[in-house]
Amino acid sequence: MKKRYLYLLLLPGLLFLTVFMIIPIFLTIGTTFINDHGFSIQGYLDFFKDRYFVEILLTTLRVSLFTTILCILLGFPAAYYISKLKQRKKAIMLLLTIFPLLTSPVVRSFSWMVIIGKNGVVNKVLLSIGLIEKPLDILYTPTAIIIGLVHLFLPLIIVTLVGVMENIETDLLKAAESLGASRLAVFSKVVIPLSVPGLVIGSILVFVGSFTAYTTPALLGGKQRVISTFLYQNAITLNEWQVASIVATIMIAVTVLIISIMNGLAKKLNPKG
């Protein structure tokens, strides 16, 4: 096959995305700027003046941020360990890592209800060893959402990190050690900087995923709303598609903003990367 015809292979996918994703997204965004009098950004102004909405947005951002940080803290060491394993063991560990992704978020959320509920395993154990006198309220709080989301997205960050860490040459580490660097120094001066690309991609996946997650917050969260449940309420129950579109556009904008901030940070951390 001649090389210049190769781009034809892109066409089916491109066509699909254009018709089913790009056009609908632009239509959605377009309608938010039009009201009875033509072009207007009033809808957005109303939103950001509204303390109630800003509060929902901030809660969502806070939950997503905590989830991302926790995922990094838990995922980084795990990924480093897995990347050091032999081929066979590594395959098994990776399979185990992505295992949570194979069950539906509904099932996972329900199992968390059983674990962290008032009569759940955690509270029963803590009560029986006398650490607490009354069951802890974990379920139906933002903490429960964070727990559920970390469980959901940890595999994503581990898998991306393993991919990057595998490509770090062992020679580099040996060179660093032979030049007198301690193990800790090797880890912090060589491994971490070289893992930054994976860290960035993984964090973006986790952050964006948590920001837009619906099932987990809807099932594990309490009275507090997050932005996706708010959007759902407007679109499905209230039939307020205009408001829902504005919320959706704000979500897209925040996502793009976060991705560019993270990319900027990554460049600073790893100027030669």
Binding site: G120, G222, K223, R225, I236, T237, L238
Partner: protein, 348 residues
């Protein structure tokens, strides 16, 4: 490359064969198709006991489209569904009616209307679909987890129930009923929005979560996350299964009537058949069957149940007549504002 091409060929041949099969099947008996949009609970009862006899009698194939009220109403709104008959709670039916989505009912074509309770005849105005069941919205509680028995709506405000109840979300069918109960508890005779919201604010410390679907309530109750809460009587059986001691009470201020209605969609191409179906589900035969299976409380007054058969059901003239009925037109007109106030003032 050759491999890929042959794979493509195989796939396309395979799909062609499948397509041929399916079109053959359609050509065979040609029964009419009636699409019924419903919640989908107790499907294993409805299919053999309710749909199958109707299918046989009218040479029709009933296709069920299931989901919650809001989702299904939205499908009809977007006009890309082929739903003929739609089951909705009165709250959502009113929305559909106000938007002109449903056909007016010709009572002459639904003769069984004569045999049902007056309250059920026209929950959303004389021209639209009847209620095929009336359920009571009251309170369920676990006597082992509360310090004093519950007998009124007011009791749910008790300090002893802090973090021990759930309340219906304002967007669910029973949400506005609970808001009305709150207004009542505040001491106002007529519904008073400001007082109702002020009263609701006081109950929020007691509520761990708002529930949107009754299954959430059942779950929280069986897991011991909550000890009490307002719920529809028809789901009490599920609670009792998980917590045998559970009690359901009709609050002394009065429970509320939750009416589940049937309507014919305006865009339907099977309106005659749809009216037949409506008449059929109001018949003594079907109403008695679903009552005895404890699926739906009957509205047909000819259905007579023994005391044992009636437990768990909302049954009997005096019970039905004691229920408070909300004006759905008013609810629908105010619901947007209520939802907004609820979000702002209560959901934190």
């Amino acid at each position: 490359m050759k491999k890929i091409i042959s794979l493509f060929m195989m796939i396309s041949v395979f799909t062609l064969v499948l397509a041929a099969c399916s079109s053959k099947e359609e050509g065979k008996g040609k029964p009419a198709k009636l699409v019924v949009s419903t919640w989908g609970f107790a499907d294993d009862f409805f299919r053999p006991e309710v749909y199958a006899p109707f299918e046989k009698e009218h040479n029709v194939k009933i296709v069920v489209d299931s989901g919650n009220n809001a989702d299904r109403l939205n499908k009809v709104r977007q006009a890309n569904s082929d739903v003929d008959v739609i089951y909705l709670s009165d709250y959502y039916a009113q929305q559909g009616i106000d938007e002109g989505l449903f056909e007016k009912i010709d009572a002459a074509k639904v003769p069984n209307m004569k045999h049902i309770y007056d309250q059920a005849k026209a929950p959303n105005g004389a021209d639209y679909g009847p209620a095929y069941t009336i359920a009571q919205f009251g309170i369920a509680y676990n006597p082992d987890e509360v310090s004093a028995p519950i007998s009124s709506w007011k009791d749910l405000w008790s300090k002893d129930l802090k973090g021990k109840i759930t309340i219906p979300s304002i967007t669910s069918t029973t949400g506005p009923m609970f808001l009305d109960a709150a207004s009542n508890v505040s001491g106002s005779k007529e519904f008073n929005e400001d007082k109702a919201f002020a009263q609701m604010k006081k109950i929020m410390p007691n509520a761990v979560k708002e529930y949107g679907q009754t299954s959430e309530f059942v779950n929280m109750f069986s897991q011991g996350e909550i000890a009490a809460g307002p719920i529809m009587e028809m789901y009490f059986g599920d609670l009792k299964e998980a917590v045998p001691n559970a009690k359901f009470i009709a609050p002394k201020e009065g429970g509320y009537a939750v009416m589940n209605t049937v309507n014919i969609v305006k865009a339907s191409d099977q309106k005659e058949l749809a009216a037949e179906f409506m008449n059929y589900i109001l018949s003594k035969e079907v109403q008695e069957k679903s009552a005895k299976a404890k699926i739906d409380s009957p509205v047909n007054t000819e259905v007579k149940l023994s005391e044992k058969e009636a437990t768990g059901l909302t049954y009997g003239d005096d019970v039905i007549n004691s229920l408070r009925v909300l004006d759905m037109k008013f609810v629908n007109e105010s619901s947007k504002q209520w939802i907004d106030r609820w979000n702002r003032e209560l959901a934190h």
